[in-house]
């Protein structure tokens, strides 16, 4: 049985413009799916719609079955039990996910307390363990800091710890490393990869960057102007794209990659 079944999902803004049109896909337990597309392709809105977090003024139609619960049109009280436990979200900019007025330890304690019913010193221990799991150095200091006192990469690690606190079965990561430096990005991707594998989680990885997506999953859905263009393995999308848009997208990524690879090859000692 699928963990997530999206069928004929459309997202429409209040002025009647369809931002996502008739998108369908499934994610099985433990499966990873990349959502690839350029800005305005509707990939992030699709991800938001899965967990019922569409910005005000946008309306979803169609069907999103998340762990056998209908998300589209569901009242908030049906969605609350899904969020965190069934499905969690990591955003592009960790600053928007973290409250600047609250110590990071307190923020992280909230979902852990709610999910595991821990209090007092046991809760404190669990918070430090969660920070340790995302490979943050000096968990005590981080727990005692506020979001603006730590680096961007560390913030994203805290956001990952929060997203994983309730042991979700599906993790949605929306461009989680786009705002990070390359060396930091590489560490965060490795961490996500390892945590998701370790816990047998399913993952939807949203990105405009084919190379980054290929690092995390070998299957992806290509989106353009609100429509799903094609789904396939990264190898197929690169080598034998069926849709002209996928072909153009892949060729552009390949062009930069080839120039880079040949610069390296030219300088390599004989």
């Amino acid at each position: 049985m699928n963990l997530l079944e999206v069928a004929s999902l459309s997202v429409t803004s209040s002025d009647g413009v369809a931002r996502v049109r008739d998108v369908s896909f499934t994610v099985a337990p433990g499966e990873r799916l990349g959502l690839i597309g350029e800005s305005g392709s509707g990939k992030s809105l699709t991800a938001f719609a899965v967990i019922g977090l569409l910005p005000a003024g946008l309306k979803a139609t169609g069907s999103v079955m998340l762990d056998d619960t209908q998300v589209v049109g569901a009242p908030e009280k049906n969605l609350v039990p899904l969020r965190g436990r069934v499905c969690s979200f990591i955003f592009q900019e960790p600053l928007t996910a973290l409250d600047p007025l609250m110590k990071l330890g307190h923020q992280l304690a909230e979902p852990i307390a709610r999910h595991q019913g821990l209090r007092g010193s046991a809760l404190k221990r669990a918070v430090l363990d969660a920070l340790d799991e995302v490979h943050l150095p000096e968990p005590e200091r981080i727990a005692d800091s506020r979001s603006y006192e730590i680096s961007g990469g560390q913030r994203q690690r805290v956001a990952i710890a929060m997203a994983l606190a309730c042991r979700p079965r599906l993790l949605i990561a929306d461009e989680p490393t786009t705002a990070l430096d390359v060396t930091v990005q590489s560490g965060v991707l490795a961490l996500l990869d390892h945590l998701v594998a370790d816990r047998d989680m399913a993952m939807i990885f949203v990105s405009h960057d084919l190379a980054v997506v290929s690092r995390m999953t070998d299957h992806a859905l290509v989106m353009r102007s609100g429509e799903a263009v094609e789904r396939g393995s990264i190898g197929e999308l690169l080598a034998s794209p069926r849709h002209p848009y996928t072909a153009e997208f892949a060729a552009s990524a390949r062009r930069i990659e080839t120039a880079f690879a040949s610069a390296i090859a030219r300088g390599r000692p004989e």
């Binding site: 350029e38 800005s39 961007g152 430096d181 390359v182 060396t183 930091v184 990005q185 590489s186 991707l189 405009h208 960057d209 084919l210 190379a211 980054v212 290929s214 690092r215 990264i234 190898g235 690169l238 080598a239 153009e248 997208f249 552009s252 990524a253 390949r254 062009r255 930069i256 990659e257 120039a259 880079f260 610069a263 390296i264 090859a265 030219r266 300088g267 390599r268 000692p269």
Partner: protein, 257 residues
């Protein structure tokens, strides 16, 4: 050949920082005609400080910026005018760098007016040529920036930068905000401007793959200092420093097919 721009042992400390805390320290490199140069570094490496120094927006705390072999003197008006004409810039965000209330023709023509390059019909012709060389239709001049996509806006910004026929284009993360298809097109455009308009690009970027695709030379910065510089192929193909190797290893690569 005399380098168009050179940094000679340049250091800069922002006011209010502790003694010895330099944003950039002892930096020396040159921009030779025809050698597109990539300035690579992560946040905090001093890239933006170097850009401001190279544009003459700040004076180095010590060391010199040389323009055509002569120390850049911001008090010398005729030198500064020739410098502004020769060194133009493109910023990262094509949305915030174009005035939304001006038509594209006026935006692109701004350096022509302020640097007194040409007037009247001659100025209009320069604008039309610049728009044409970045691949925009001639009627773009009468439209507003919001009518264009991100990639097209970056083309407008490039047109504005090349309209005065500069010799150096200083591009600060010019493709970071662009989608991959547009990114590849803008890189191709920048690569082609070199030979067709005698333009040398100095590109600041955190992305080694973009630098590898466009630049003949690469300078790697870390913590305000140069860790390595040389031809792009030698820096990427046979890096001598650990930090450069780390940067290279961190670049996301496409799977081989």
């Amino acid at each position: 050949m005399t380098p168009i721009l050179a940094l000679d042992n340049v250091s800069y400390a922002y006011r209010g920082t502790h003694a010895g805390q330099h944003a950039v320290q002892d930096v020396s490199f040159t921009i030779e005609p025809g050698q597109n140069t990539g300035l690579v570094g992560e946040s905090g490496s001093g890239k933006s400080t170097l850009v401001k120094l190279l544009l003459g927006l700040m004076r180095p705390t010590s060391g010199q910026v040389l323009f055509d072999g002569v120390p850049l003197n911001l008090g010398d008006q005729s030198q500064v005018r020739s410098f502004r004409r020769s060194v133009q810039t493109v910023f990262q965000d094509p949305y915030s760098s174009l005035d939304p209330r001006q038509r594209v023709g006026r935006i692109v023509g701004e350096p022509v007016r302020s640097l007194r390059v040409a007037r009247g019909r001659a100025a209009d012709e320069l604008v039309a040529k610049a728009l044409e060389s970045v691949g925009l239709a001639a009627d773009a001049a009468s439209r507003y920036p919001h009518e264009f996509s991100g990639g097209q806006r970056q083309r407008i910004a490039i047109a504005r930068a090349i309209v005065s026929r500069p010799r150096v284009l200083l591009a600060d993360e010019p493709v970071s905000a662009l989608d991959v298809i547009t990114r590849s097109q803008v890189i191709a455009l920048l690569a082609e401007l070199g030979p067709s308009r005698d333009l040398t690009v100095l590109m600041v970027s955190h992305d080694l793959s973009v630098v590898g695709a466009l630049c003949q030379r690469t300078v790697v910065l870390q913590g305000g200092r140069i860790v390595e510089q040389g031809t792009t192929s030698s820096v990427l193909g046979a890096p001598s420093e650990t930090y450069t190797r780390q940067l290279l290893a961190a670049v996301p690569r496409l799977p081989q097919i």
